[in-house]
Amino acid sequence: MDLEWMAWTLPTAVFFLGIAALLLGMTFWQHLSPTRLRRGLLPIPTTRGDRLFVGLLASAFLHLAWLALTPFSLWIALGLSVLLLVSVLRLG
């Protein structure tokens, strides 16, 4: 089967593997200690999965805003996103 048309590159492959690993990890974590619905800084009660989704979506927008508003390297945005994701997961 020829998959050249999918035009894979190393960075995108790493990205998708990262997402997959994240989902697997979350499933495993859920298995170890099940999440409970709780109310944090976000205006709605959330589970761990909800917070992961919100965090990832927010990270995506952070990257876009970074590209649109600053001339600096995206690596800084990536670093900030990781911080954002962790804080949403913990506090959201």
Binding site: A7, T9, P11, T12, F16, L64, L67, A68
Partner: protein, 287 residues
């Protein structure tokens, strides 16, 4: 209704997952791959990182296409939802009239989208179309092919014509599902028509209106075929919505990279919008 915890329910969901993932995930991944490369042809591509995203985000034409899209979607929603509910309320509840009303209502929904464009292309023309001729007879110089405002309005009217029925059908279904006892209770309390609507019908319609709102939001955001037939995005760029713009880039100029980057940004925006609506509207339900 209380739902029980059952991890084995995943097996029941698996077929859906397989069918949808096949058509959804692989193309999505491909589009992500496109978005970080400059593609010249089969096998000829160069990694460019986030360049396309940066370029697209600073592109004036994108901003205006996006603004037009938001304006169109907001207008469509603010007309179709109230109108659809009003129609559902006005529909007869029993008798032979019900079937007749449903048939007429459903008719626009079952017309292929390119034909919907054709219908309005003909109907709106001042020389041979009834609608266009009528507006002309009122003394308004109306021409959807040359006047941007007219083109925009024609598309709006076409969309209302095309899709209000969907809202009306869903709302009608929701109204019919309200038990008779609720109305009797309201009657005893001496509630007027507005009171009944406000306190009984509207709350019970929440579920179907969520469906209607999200469907119309999603579908109007990717509207393509009808404007393509009716105006081709013109005159000028007046009706070039996001999908038109994308198609021009991807198919017309074969700029796959920028088009992919653009569609991902667009996808993220609508994902966020839908998430907010979905969360807010289903917040009251049992989770």
């Amino acid at each position: 209704m209380k739902r029980t915890e059952n991890p084995r329910a995943w097996w029941l969901v698996l077929p859906v997952l397989a069918v949808v993932a096949f058509s959804a995930l692989i193309p999505l991944m491909t589009v992500v791959n496109y978005s970080v490369q400059d593609i010249f042809g089969p096998g000829q591509r160069v990694f460019v990182g986030a360049e396309w995203f940066r370029e697209i985000l600073h592109d004036e034409r994108l901003h205006s296409a996006f603004a037009r899209q938001l304006g169109f979607t907001a207008s469509v929603l603010s007309i179709e939802l109230p109108l659809g509910v009003a129609i559902a309320l006005a529909m007869p509840t029993r008798g032979a009239g019900v079937s007749a009303c449903l048939v007429i209502l459903a008719l626009p929904l079952l017309i292929p989208w390119n034909v919907v464009g054709t219908i309005w292309q003909i109907f709106g023309r001042a020389d041979i179309g009834l609608g266009g001729a009528f507006v002309h007879a009122l003394g308004i110089d109306y021409n959807y092919a040359q006047n941007p405002a007219d083109a925009w309005l024609t598309l709006l009217v076409m969309d209302v014509w095309h899709w209000t029925s969907l809202v009306a059908l869903l709302a009608y279904a929701g109204l019919r599902a309200i038990p008779e006892a609720y109305y009797q209770a309201a009657q005893i309390d001496g509630a007027g028509a507005f009171g009944v609507f406000h306190h009984i019908q509207l709350p019970r319609l929440r579920g179907v209106l969520t469906i209607a709102l999200l469907l119309r939001l999603m579908d109007s955001f990717v509207i393509y075929t009808e404007p393509f037939v009716l105006t081709g995005g013109g005159p000028g760029n007046a009706t070039t919505f996001l999908s038109q713009y994308l198609a021009r880039m991807a198919v017309g100029q074969f700029d796959l990279g920028p088009a992919a980057a653009f569609s991902l940004i667009y996808f993220l925006v609508i994902l966020a919008l839908c998430f907010v609506f979905f969360t807010v509207l289903t917040a009251g339900e049992e989770r």
